[in-house]
Symmetry: C2
Subunit: 235 residues, 2 copies
């Protein structure tokens, strides 16, 4: 029974903007397309939605197939529907952004999947409207991170305050006073100080922290105040 028989049907793609942080630099995961059109051009992780799956399921499947990533933070961002955005056939793309602990997957991704982590400052030309998606993703992640503690998704389970601060400084492209930063972060009550130190970054070593998962989940929708002046979201 098809009551909607006169209507047009369209391809639906999912495209994922995958953020990673290696302790110093904020990066995106990009891939060289192995198929036409635009073969060998750089592209986001994308694929078509299948008849049997929801949008979220498609996003998770595509991420897994192209990168091996599974169980990462994934959030729907925006749907792109210009009529000519894919030159072969009209395709509506539902975009997602993902936040990934880069270390967990670094080797796996490059050997098995020919995907590559590219510093956000040096993104090459991308196919279709993927450039636009990246710009929106940068804005979205800032917007959200200014209000919610999502950036922890980019860090390993144990991390130091200097690492966390570098991450915030990368995302907001700013520099933050470390005394005020640590006060604000610790005031959230989300962090548990561990007894051992990371000696990699300095001679003295920096204490490891981990998330208080209880509070993290409870406060995820709540508002935090880590960024001094949200006007830094502007550009």
């Amino acid at each position: 029974m098809t009551k909607y028989s006169k209507q047009s049907r369209f391809l639906i793609a999912v495209d994922c903007i995958v953020f990673g942080f290696d302790g110093e630099t904020l990066k995106l995961l990009l891939i060289k397309r192995s198929f036409n059109p635009e073969k060998d051009k750089w592209s986001l992780m994308g694929g078509f939605v299948q008849a049997s799956e929801s949008l979220d399921q498609a996003a998770n499947r595509i991420l897994k197939q192209l990168t091996g990533l599974e169980g990462v933070y994934l959030e729907q961002m925006y749907s792109f529907g210009e009529t000519n955005r894919d030159p072969i056939e009209r395709t509506i793309s539902v975009s997602y952004f993902a936040l990934v602990d880069i270390h967990k997957y670094e080797k796996q991704i490059s050997t098995d999947f020919h995907a590559e982590w590219v510093p956000l400052k040096r993104i090459p030309k991308l196919i279709f409207d993927h450039q636009e998606m990246v710009e929106l993703a940068k804005k979205s992640i800032r917007y959200k991170a200014a209000l919610h503690p999502i950036l922890f998704e980019l860090l390993p389970s144990r991390f130091t305050l200097p690492q966390l601060q570098t991450l915030y400084e990368s995302v907001f492209n700013t520099s933050i006073d470390k005394r005020n930063f640590s006060k604000r972060v610790l005031a959230t009550g989300l962090l548990i100080k561990l007894t051992d130190k990371d000696k990699a970054g300095s001679k003295r070593g920096a204490y490891y922290y981990q998330l208080n998962m209880q509070k993290y989940y409870a406060n995820f929708q709540a508002f935090i105040n880590i960024i001094p002046n949200p006007d830094s979201l502007q550009n």
Copy 2:
């Protein structure tokens, strides 16, 4: 040339959650479906995307066709893609919310289009997942309005501070001290005080204000601080 021939194609719908404010109550514009499935059930303003139009164009067209509304504030919200959300045939719905000055269209809508303004507190059961869309729209409008001056889109070009305050109180389902409210609002510099008064609401009358359009457009993306405590966004 069809390189994607093996992929499934889907119906794409656009559904609009249309908010209006009559000076007292926040309302949604709903319609009784004139076609199957779910004929005569309440529904959001929706329709199918056509081959020749972008998502934004489809949203604007559908709003115009179903309500006569044109040139109103319209923002893409979220895409719903559960496989069984439309029982007849799988349909992905891209939802938009709209903010409308209710007075401009009140008569027109009910006479010409059989659409109806329903108080947000008394929304009937809706078809499909439209209930879920409404819930998300309430959250989205609060979220955005806590940070950006979008609620002016719901008011006529001349309005009073008590009207504006009632609007904020409706949206955030809270009550606000009027002295503090007026200080915060006026501190944004977005308002121009006019010399005449609205005598409808009281004997003394309340001064009309209008938006400083220069500043309004310049500050639309910037952050304002009208809501005392953003934790009111919680529920």
